[in-house]
Symmetry: C2
Amino acid sequence: MDRRTPVDDRTGRRIVPETARRADRPPTRYGSRPTMKDVAARAGVGLKTVSRVVNGEPGVTPDTERRVQEAIEALGFRRNDSARVLRKGRTASIGLILEDLADPFYGPLSRAVEEVARAHGALLINGSSAEDPEREQELALALCARRVDGLVVIPAGDDHRYLEPEIKAGVATVFVDRPAGHIDADVVLSDNFGGARDGVAHLIAHGHRRIGFIGDMPRIHTAAERLRGYRAAMEDAGIPVEDSWMSLGATDPERVRRAAEAMLSGPAPVTAVFSANNRVTVTVIRVLAEQPRRIALVGFDDIELADLLQPGVTVVAQDAAALGRTAAERLFRRLDGALVAPERIELPTRLITRGSGELPPAG
Amino acid sequence: MDRRTPVDDRTGRRIVPETARRADRPPTRYGSRPTMKDVAARAGVGLKTVSRVVNGEPGVTPDTERRVQEAIEALGFRRNDSARVLRKGRTASIGLILEDLADPFYGPLSRAVEEVARAHGALLINGSSAEDPEREQELALALCARRVDGLVVIPAGDDHRYLEPEIKAGVATVFVDRPAGHIDADVVLSDNFGGARDGVAHLIAHGHRRIGFIGDMPRIHTAAERLRGYRAAMEDAGIPVEDSWMSLGATDPERVRRAAEAMLSGPAPVTAVFSANNRVTVTVIRVLAEQPRRIALVGFDDIELADLLQPGVTVVAQDAAALGRTAAERLFRRLDGALVAPERIELPTRLITRGSGELPPAG
DNA sequence: TAGAGCCTGGACAACGTTGTCAGGCGCGCG
DNA sequence: CGCGCGCCTGACAACGTTGTCCAGGCTCTA
């Protein structure tokens, strides 16, 4: 490292002052902004004429338009959209509330929502609820106070009656990944039940009967649905499920590790595990790698590099981008006034076999 | 899958109408919103008194406050922040422009920015530039028109003079991950040069002399700095670098694969590779897995599951969350009026050894 | 009991933009 | 030559909120 510049001991940061401000910079007062009135005065025209030019409205002589453009350029004018919003009623922005921006599952989802918003000329405001219903509500209402045109919500809570006045007032609202609670609204979901059932059936088809299930907290809809899928697959195959094979709770590595190790020990350990989301899967992979026997694994949600592990990880993949895209498109169609009755849309999942789900039961 | 509900053949979506709206719902006109005036009328008080209650200002009798609260409740009133912003000048929101929300590197970064914003009572508006300078500018100016209080920018372009009027007008602006072009502004960077140099020196220390470098397009600052670090390490060790060992360009899998395969073939192939970002690393791992000999690898940026591969992937990790946090904190300190001169802050990187970087040169 | 001071409440303007409407000018037609 | 029509242009109000300022009523004290 370059040792000539001072380094903050505690943080290790290196701090270098930037070059001094260039001398030719005009002495402008900070914090002031030219308005259309200023532009009008400078161009020697009326206020409304400036508005016409800025918005590309017809009815302005080329000569006048040029004068106005010059004044705008000279003053560095930029229209104040807050005032515009106040006047027009629409903000051309939508809100997205998800659980955690840093979770790799939500990256593609929010990117997809953003793309659709961009195509409709809208900006995206987003916030993370951190799986806290109160924070979800706080965020949603703050966005409504900003008068976003619409809201895409990945619910943390299970009661969304607080949004009723907003929806009535015209905020187009679509729920994604999990259904809304106690209100009628558009919902876009993955086929959590079917996906989990297919994944577990896949393990059964490869000879497993003692299959473990490790999932998220049961109050979360997706977790409950995936458990239901597991139970359905086992029942379809006529396999009675033992309580010790199922573990639901927080997805932190410590708990998941304990749960997995419990299922894998004792007199009749499981020979396969179904892990019900990406965070759980990552920890389960670590635990299985330490086992003397090869344990089969199918995970819900795809994972980067899953194909490079030994063995490759078989997963039930959901299409996060499609979830986001579908929800956002529906939101804008509603804004265009096309839709009336709320609908529930379910997207299919896809089983991707890579090896871990095809392992035979270990003696 | 449940076969009783209709399925759209093309998309595989299942569509179910939600239950009919509840009958007890009052017939409200959509799109209308009560204002403070309405609340005042209903409560039988003046407009300003409502404002006082809504903002928790003193000088209102408990009895009056109760009456106002009841009216707010009854009408479902929610303050219109657009009008508030217009009046007050501050929006309590900041903008974040990054390259791609879906890139796992930017998830923790934007999450960190959001956390800091939240602590300051501000919302986060964000957009992706898709590495397109024009789109970056378009987004930045749109956010300025919304009168965001500040801007965190991961630059796609290399000329940011277009932001000068905005910064002068008081938009607190901080650049992250890459420096700003042609303007003085706060910058928060990782030590790309030092990190790359350390990573390459690590390979040299394990006996390698023929070391390849695969990086991003050289116009991107981080890519250039990491290449500089590679060259410095090689020079420090007195190893002359051959042109065929270096490859810079787009990070799509096809190009990276061709580049890696080229370095690994021929009469004197490289025995180790330094991959200069997360996307490159993922592809290089795939290519190396197909090679008959064990090739050493050090990558810039950490990768999930890197520890579970065979061998584990040695990386130079940067702290994305710290980048975002530092930038956002600086932005808010500037908003508080504490800062004057722009600074350049550099965060250290960390070498994490997991096996792939410690392999000896293969015969 | 009267005056001073405090506390509560409300009228009014202003924030910067856009929609409405009317005025002025030039040109074509009768 | 005069009238009417159409095209530009600008004055004005309104969007919903907050800051300023003043009025009225109350209490407390001399």
